[in-house]
Amino acid sequence: MTQSNRISGGQIDRTKTLRFTFDGIPYQGHPGDTLASALLANGVRLMGRSFKYHRPRGPMTAGSEEPNALVELRSGGRQEPNTRATVAELFDGLSANSQNRWPSLRFDAMGINDRLSTFFAAGFYYKTFMWPKAFWEKLYEPIIRRAAGLGSVSREEDPDDYDKGFLHCDLLVIGAGPTGLMAALTAGRAGKRVILADEDFRMGGRLNAETLAVGGTHGADWAAGVVAELASLPNVRLMPRTTVIGAFDHGIYGAVERVSDHLALPAAGKPRQVLWRIYSHRAILAGGATERPIAFENNDRPGIMLAGALRAYANRWGVKVGQRVAVFTNNDDGLRTAEDLKAKGVEVVAVLDSRQGDEVIDTSGRLGLKSIIVRDAKGRTREIAVEALGVSGGWNPNVNVHSHHRSRPVYDPTIAAFVPGAEGPPGLMVAGAAAGVLSTHGALRTGRDAAVEALGLTGAADLPEAEDAPVRIKALWHVAHGKGRAWIDQQNDVTVKDVKLAKQENFTSVEHLKRYTTLGMATDQGKTGNVLGLAIMAELTGRSIPDTGTTIYRPPYTPVAMGALAGRSRGTEFKPFRLTPSHHWAKEQGAVFVEVGMWLRTQWVPKAGETEWRQSVDREVLATRRSVGICDVTTLGKIDIQGTDAGAFLDRVYANTFSTLAVGKCRYGLMLREDGIVFDDGTTARMGEHEYVMTTTTANAVPVFRHLEYCRQVLWPDMDVQLISTTEAWAQFSVAGPNARKVLEKVVDQDISDAAFPYMGARNITVCGGLRARLFRISFSGELAYEIAVPTRYGDALLREMLARGAEYDPIVYGTEALGVMRIEKGHVAGGELNGQSTALNMGLGKMVSKKKDSIGMVLSQREGLVEAEGYRLVGVKPVDPKGKLSAGSHFLEKGAAAVAANDGGWLTSKVYSPHIGCDIALGYLKAGDQKIGRRMRAVNLLSGQDTEVEIVSPHFFDPEGERLRG
């Protein structure tokens, strides 16, 4: 393959050849090439299709603002849709395909849209497709959806890793063109911590694309020299291939570093990209400017590009886009393209300067530019055969990042462009072309001065010599001629006609213009087209350009891979795991685990021969109730509360009273939110005069701790209370069942007989010959039960020891399912009942809310809507026929009542199969449930068709008198 359009010069390494394919055809390029420059070097201009009309398109730019040359890069899980060929760095083996075309890029059946374009004017779809009503979802929309979209996703998992990181600096310089280099150099030489980030893989910005001299040498060489000096400074971090995507609050910037995109595969262990959060004291936006086109008929053909891009391909990449080239400009900078191309030996057949009255009014060439029709000041037209046309309508400062805090840019008529407004993100300065200073000298000067000012430096380095040409431009937004379409937003196919129609229909606000025509909503976010569109709207409405204004600039500056934003938090690493002390034992036993928040808890522990989960769970329940079972309850929150006011403090945070609790005892506590709804519950023990241990639910361990700190610091700041979480410090096991004490006696060193250690006792003890431990005689299952805690590192050993030493009682380990069965049999509330919507009264615990003291939630729990006799009450539910099935989430209906909301009696909050009772049982909230014990109703699940006659019973299915737990 020859690189037919490769010319001399450029910053490519011609000693190495890279092979790549586009649409399956092999080509060659060189290191330093982008996909676009390499394809152009091979004479390929056609690279994509537009969104709506499927117009053939080639690259319009040489940078990240590219609207047209979008390709699918790579394949399989690495397939990367909508990749801008103009910034895709070439590597050996690169494979790219065109997108949004069928069957091929050259012949695209959807190109029919272009022929029918008159029917597809802006917003046409709002006016039709309404009849018949059902046809929208069934016919019209599916067709539109299939036709829309650009690239495609493979649906395979992205195999690459992404990282995140945090950087800190005195000065962040965004953009490494002459402005940014000078700013970084000034700050770097002053010893400041500097980060210089640039989206390109080669620093230097436009200097790489120009032939301009800086300090008497070629600008690109000067840039390389500065980069080398900066690289030698330990206080400067150079970050090429790094796009600053947004300015966030208080000097935090987001940046994405493309670590491996220029490689065939990331190196082992290395991420594809890194999202950096950069914390900067000061920042300088030196992001340069983006050239904009001029709208004229058929200005979108492959081969028509921005004049600066044409020049960049020649100067930086040694590529001519066509054999015969023309330039169309309204400003002096466009003329540089003609000069540079001529200097490279490219045949420049016409230079059309609108300031002289010359204009391009139309073009030809379906798959690539063949000719342009030009009109001179006298109105004479002629056709000129060309393969490439460079267009310059002036340069728009890249104000985006400066506008991310919604600062509106202001219009500067001297350069016919918007420049940064006054109120940007605090700490962010703008310099160089981004500030509307468009000469090289101006860039160097403002870059240096910005660094001096931002960092308060004294003295400033001399500036290298460079051109300081004034901007000479006469604004021209579109060429008034003919009835054809002149493109403004090339990707979304928004034309001058669409702007006119928007005006005609009164969509004249710039936001309405955008939303109605889709101007600026494509992957380039209107970087080249927006100003054109609003300027044309200004012309049409007679308003000024400043009065018309811009739309809002939003992060990210250029589109960002979702993987980079997610970093490592994906797959099973989406959230960390929390493992219980018995995890390793349980894993050995083949236990089944369940996610409870970030915890993995043992759900049940199957024994050989058990094929259904219910077999395991039933066995665990029955074995516990028959003899003894052990359950790891470490996940419950534990908070150590000490201080001389600890008791008084607990009286405030619990609805019931704790200051009167005897040392060595524990009590069930009910905690309300200030709105009177139950927040949490748990057992709190008094371990000493000024020392309590609070237990919270697993889910609320963190919120409760936060709440207690709030009460301690904010509400009652002088209380002597100290808090610390000990959730993970102790491995805690529930030991339940008639033989619980007997098993515990095998490990506990002290006397724990009923007399010595009665129900609701709480003590520091020792186990196994002196290991410090805690014992609480509390029961969630209704059995004689204890919770025993040892330092976490001994948890595994304690469990094994209890199982071994207590073997004569056949102790089993039960999981969360059996735990749930037993707590429901006993009528204890848990997750399904503690739903954040229920009061103590709803739970049948209304009497626990003491009115004799002030506590959180006490007052508002008395509001009329929360104390109605007809409100929900916790009840037990049993099927009338023991074979009847229940479902949590079923609703209560009276017999014969229709399943409509007016008849809705409440719902089943939790349901289990009780092997003890021999049927499904449930808890539920039933309206006036306390008055309906004994009534027969229905539990109806309309989603499964289940409709079961049930009896309303006390929620205490098992041992309602509590004889067993006191045994």
């Binding site: 966030f248 609050d249 208080h250 000097g251 935090i252 914390y279 805090h405 605090p426 006011d645 008084a648 200030e674 709105d675 963190v702 936060r706 700190e709 709030y710 610091q713 904010v714 509400l715 009652w716 700041p717 002088d718 209380m719 003291k853 002030d854 506590s855 006490m858 007052v859 508002l860 008395q862 509001r863």
Partner: protein
Amino acid sequence: MIIHHPILGPRDAQEFVYLGDAALIDRPDGMTAGVEVFHDWLYNRDNPAGEHRELWYHEQGDRSWLVVTRNTVTHEITRVELARDVARSKGRSK
């Protein structure tokens, strides 16, 4: 955002948990105030567009509750105090 913690200096707001208007410090006394007073305190807000004193908790830090004075339009933070000090200055004690 960055919150200049009065003890620890600049800290990323990500380390904090937000509660809301610092007027919540002025909790009525449940033994003397009734439902109406509690209702107004708990539910109604000034919700200003501008300077706002608000409670933040340094959960991934030193567990201090802070009163942050922050502009809700610009997000500029002009003052950060320990909530405990603010509460005491308002006469809260035990």
